[in-house]
Structure formats: structure tokens, C-alpha cells
């Protein structure tokens, strides 16, 4: 299997912060695979996705490796970066309205990269824009080419953004909270489109989301991130049926269920770690119910394999025995 995105030991740090923005992050996306990166605000999930395009925070110290379609982008020159961004990886964002020029028509927006970057003629670019709008399920492509962004709903405009991302004919699509600003029923539409693109074009997808249930239901594998570190990586089914990291369990226990018994929620105490706060040992230790003083705040756990999952928890092995039979989600 061909690895589209291979991040290894990536650390991104900036002077004046208490902890690194990303700390030893390793993550891979293979051809045609859908992978989710789940975390709360400030966990570093968006920063991680952006590194795949060679976008690092200004003034940051970067170590480790990010290989995208065979090209190393850490410390890459402008030529390599341009090649990655125009032919390997594309990105869509949460708010489609922020990424589009409101005074230009959809047709101009879509044909510009096709003509200027991919070097198509005007007629070819228009034909391809029509095809792409069809591929993302827009009902009337010729009419949409003449429309302005304000004439389209958020869900429709997000499809236009996906079509725009596809103008580069990428092999990897980075989706940063693509449905967070949309209605729930529209979310399903966008997910259906991404699923179809993945099937038809063999696109690899990295889905950044805060919604663990969404991630597990549409992706093959899920990475759970907290305070710049990967806490757990597992196939979707394993993650939701046997969550091994206390943080993953906390996230699952924080969302009220739609069916079945409705117990009082057991939220994770405290708040996610800010960038200004220094960490020693496990970054989740301060909020963890299973913390052992002297152990968890002294040693930083690395990802270890337990069953189908990889878990960064010093007590993962004992906790699994402890919670067996308790009927945890």
C-alpha cells in the first residue's frame, strides 16, 4: 500500500510557550484510506493537517519528518512545496465562505487554478469545472458557474470548495472540520460526497474533527489527539468498542447518547491544556481519574500497542483489566 502522508516524530515548538504545539506526532494516511484526527480546541489537530501542505506556524522550530506523496516538506524549497500543493494534496476548511472571493462568480473561482496552475485552455477549464461540480453533486452545474457565492447555501458552497480542492487532481484531501458549520442533514451529504470521491478516485482523506462519533462512523482509523500529542490510534471499531486511553473514554462518556439508558454525564474535569501551560509527564495527567502521582507526572508515555490499538498511557495494560466487564462504551 502506498503511503500518501507519512508524519514521523513531528515536533513544532515556539519560543515563549509552555509546551510544544505538536509533540512527537506520528501519523500515516495510505492511498484510498480515510483517517480521522480527533481532538478538542488547541489539541493541535489543525496544525498537524496544515503541515501536510508545508504550512508551519511562523517562527516555529520544526523537527521530525512530513513526507507527502514521496516528498519531504519539512524545510522543503518553494519548488517542492508548489508541486505538493498543486498535484498531491488539497485542503478544505470549516467555513466555506471565508475561502471564496464574494465578488467573483463560481465559474471564475474554479477555472482560475485550472488555467493558471494546471495550464488548461479556457474551454478545457470550463469543461472540467462543470465536471467537478457534477462530481460533488451540484444539481445544475452550468447555472452554478454563473452564480455568486451569496446565492448558494453553506452546504452548496462547501461542495464548491471541494470541487475547488479537486482542481489540483490531488491524491490526498485534507478536510479540516468540513461539516462543523453546517446543519446535521447537510453534514451527511458532504460525508456522502467525500465517501464517493474516495471510492471513485482512490483519494486518501484526512478528516479533522472534534466529533468522535462522526470520525468513527466514516473513517477506517482514528487518531485521538490531546495537547499536541497522539494519545490513541486505533481502527474505528476498536476505538469505540474498546476505548483504551482514559481521555478517549472521557470523550465518549461526555456525549449524551441518543438511544438507550441516559445516565448522568461523567465529564472530564478541568479544561484542555493551554499552550502557555508547561507539561511534565503525561499531558492528560491533571484531568485523569486514573493518575498515579509520581508516575504519570514524571514519565511521558509513548504509543504502545495493546490489542488493535496504540495507546500512550503508562497504565494502559492495568486499566484494560480493570475496566473489563464494566460495560464501558
Amino acid at each position: 500500500m502506498n503511503t500518501l502522508l507519512d508524519i514521523k516524530g513531528l515536533t513544532v515548538a515556539m519560543a515563549g510557550l509552555g509546551r510544544p504545539i505538536l509533540d512527537e506526532v506520528s501519523l500515516a494516511v495510505h492511498d484510498g484510506e480515510a483517517v480521522a484526527l480527533v481532538g478538542e480546541s488547541g489539541s493541535g489537530k489543525s496544525v498537524t493537517a496544515r503541515t501536510a501542505l508545508g504550512l508551519f506556524p511562523g517562527g516555529a522550530t520544526v523537527s521530525g519528518s512530513v513526507v507527502v506523496g514521496g516528498t519531504e516538506v519539512v524545510a522543503a524549497g518553494p519548488g517542492d512545496l508548489r508541486r505538493v500543493r498543486t498535484s498531491v494534496a488539497s485542503m478544505i476548511f470549516q467555513d466555506p465562505r471565508a475561502g471564496v472571493n464574494p465578488v467573483r462568480r463560481i465559474g471564475d473561482f474554479l477555472t482560475e487554478p485550472l488555467r493558471r496552475i494546471q495550464g488548461r485552455s479556457k474551454a478545457e477549464a470550463t469543461a472540467q469545472a462543470l465536471e467537478l461540480l457534477g462530481a460533488v453533486g451540484m444539481p445544475d452545474p452550468p447555472r452554478h458557474l454563473r452564480q455568486f457565492p451569496h446565492e448558494l447555501s453553506g452546504g452548496m458552497l462547501q461542495r464548491v470548495m471541494i470541487a475547488y480542492a479537486l482542481t489540483a487532481d490531488p491524491r490526498l484531501l485534507l478536510c479540516d472540520e468540513p461539516t462543523t458549520a453546517l446543519d446535521v442533514t447537510t453534514q451527511a451529504e458532504i460525508m456522502a460526497i467525500l465517501g464517493r470521491l474516495r471510492r471513485d478516485r482512490g483519494l486518501g482523506i484526512l478528516l479533522i474533527t472534534h466529533d468522535l462519533d462522526l470520525a468513527a462512523s466514516v473513517c477506517d482509523r482514528v487518531y485521538v489527539m490531546y495537547a499536541g500529542r497522539i494519545m490513541e490510534a486505533a481502527p474505528s471499531a476498536a476505538l469505540t468498542s474498546v476505548p483504551r486511553h482514559p481521555y478517549t473514554r472521557g470523550l465518549l462518556g461526555s456525549a449524551p447518547p441518543l438511544t438507550g439508558p441516559m445516565p448522568r454525564l461523567a465529564p472530564i474535569p478541568g479544561a484542555p491544556l493551554g499552550l502557555a501551560e508547561a507539561v511534565s509527564g503525561c499531558p492528560f495527567a491533571a484531568r485523569c481519574a486514573h493518575v498515579v502521582p509520581g508516575l504519570c507526572d514524571a514519565t511521558t508515555p509513548t504509543l504502545e500497542r495493546h490489542g488493535d490499538s496504540q495507546v500512550a498511557c503508562l497504565r494502559a495494560a492495568e486499566l484494560i483489566d480493570e475496566t473489563q466487564g464494566e460495560g464501558l462504551r
Binding site: T185, A216, S217, S254, A271
Partner: protein, 263 residues
């Protein structure tokens, strides 16, 4: 039967040619909790704004404990219904500490023992001395939302309207705030109108729910019955849109298109 906390009949609101809310009626019994569920454009926020008097209904009436809301004085209206919005950053005064913001409300309403009430409120929403002395920008999203809830509760309103009040919070923080709201409901018996697109969250906090679609109530009932045996196709679509194991976005898209073609 005792007078309901809220008795809303035939509420209508149009903006130009757009019908935001059409002939909406519901009652909220004492200590009740009602969910208004819908997506953007369903009229749920317009309804919330009419309930606190930020919008004037074109037609229809809102009775709070049997008295028309429209006829009440400003302070009386504030004591009848309070609201918490989605983004507390925009609803809290950035120049005031949380303690001062709470104190201000109490002074306006001539509360006899302000200091004690402020302490009580902070305790109720789980904020400590540090947070009380901070300005909104010194607080996290969850803490700001707790402060906004404390401010709304300050005058002991009959009804608390929560307009997507937990939607912008991280899941772990959302769960904390939901528990705060559940406790407040149990302890004070305040009536709650909970506006949300999230069915699971509505289920956690509400006994009953209305499902709104393009300004019209398509279904209403006890939340458990609504979720287990939905009658309206739109309610069914909303429920199946929530991601779960074995979820098929393709099927839901088809369901959605079928619904759109029918209307």
C-alpha cells in the same frame, strides 16, 4: 390545572417575504423543559428572540404565568424570561469582571443582599473566586458560558431560554455545562426552553420537544417517544443524520433529497 409558565399561541413572524415562524403554539408547564429542535432557517432562534422580547411577533401571544409578555414593563419582562446565547463572548460586557456583571444586574433589580446572591450564583454554576475577578477574555469558553448562565439566573426568572448555549463548547466542557444546567433545573424548578440542533443534548435536558422545519412545527411530543417512534419524515431524517456505527451518509442524502422534492 395550574397556569403554565409559558403559554404561546399562534406565533407568526415574517421578514419581508420570508416566513420565519408560522403559527407556533406551545405551553411550558411549571418546572418543565421543552426542546426546540431544528436546523438553520427552522425559526428556532426567531422564536427564542420573540420569547425574550427582542423581536415583536406579527401575530400571536406569549403569556408568562397568564400575563401577556408584551404588556409587561422592561424589568418585569427581564424577571419573566432570560436567555443564554451561543457565544457568551458577545453577550458579556468585556470591560466588567464577572462579579461586577452579576452585581450590576442585581442592582438594577434592587436586590436586597447583592453580595450574598453573587456568591450563591457563582457557586451554582461552579465558578470560583479567580473566575469571579476575571474579565470575560480571561476565561475559557466553558467558564464564560457558566458566567452567562449565572447572569441569566441572577433575577430568578420564571423561564430560561438557552439558544444553542452549549453548541460552541468542546465536548468535555459541554458535558460539564450540561450537568450544571441539569442541576439548576432540579434545584430551582426553573422552566427551560432549550433551542438546539443536537437531539442527544435535547434528550439529556428536556422532557418534551418540538421539531421545527421552515418555521412550522412538524412534530411534537415527549422526547423519548419522539426519538424512538418518530412520525414525521423530517424528524426521521434528523435522527438518522446523527453519526453512529454502521451510519450510511449515502442513504441519508437520498432520504433528504426525497424530502426536498416533496416540499
Amino acid at each position: 390545572m395550574s397556569t403554565p409558565l409559558l403559554d404561546v399561541t399562534g406565533l407568526c413572524k415574517t421578514y419581508g417575504t420570508n416566513v420565519a415562524v408560522s403559527d407556533l403554539s406551545f405551553t411550558l408547564p411549571a418546572g418543565g423543559s421543552l426542546g426546540l429542535v431544528g436546523e438553520s432557517g427552522s425559526g428556532k432562534t426567531t422564536t427564542a428572540r420573540m420569547l425574550i422580547g427582542l423581536e415583536r411577533p406579527d401575530r400571536g401571544q406569549i403569556l408568562v404565568k397568564g400575563e401577556p409578555l408584551a404588556a409587561a414593563s422592561r424589568l418585569a419582562r427581564a424577571k419573566a424570561v432570560q436567555i443564554v446565547f451561543q457565544d457568551p463572548y458577545l453577550s458579556l460586557d468585556p470591560r466588567l469582571t464577572i462579579r461586577a456583571a452579576l452585581d450590576d444586574v442585581l442592582r438594577l433589580h434592587r436586590h436586597p443582599d447583592r453580595a450574598a446572591r453573587v456568591t450563591e450564583l457563582l457557586d451554582q454554576v461552579g465558578l470560583g473566586a479567580r473566575e469571579a475577578a476575571a474579565k470575560p477574555r480571561g476565561l475559557s469558553g466553558g467558564q464564560r458560558q457558566r458566567a452567562a448562565i449565572a447572569r441569566a439566573l441572577a433575577v430568578e426568572p420564571d423561564v430560561l431560554v438557552l439558544d444553542e448555549a452549549v453548541s460552541a463548547l468542546d465536548v468535555s466542557i459541554q458535558a460539564q455545562v450540561l450537568n450544571v444546567l441539569a442541576d439548576i433545573r432540579r434545584e430551582t424548578g426553573i422552566g427551560i426552553v432549550f433551542v438546539s440542533h443536537d437531539l442527544a443534548v435535547v434528550r439529556y435536558l428536556c422532557d418534551e420537544a418540538l421539531v421545527l422545519h421552515r418555521g412550522v412545527v412538524v412534530e411534537r411530543g415527549a422526547i423519548e417517544a419522539l426519538l424512538t417512534d418518530p412520525q414525521d419524515p423530517y424528524t426521521r431524517l434528523l435522527i438518522s443524520s446523527v453519526p453512529h456505527a454502521g451510519w450510511s451518509p449515502e442513504e441519508i442524502s437520498e432520504q433528504r433529497r426525497a424530502l426536498q422534492q416533496r416540499s
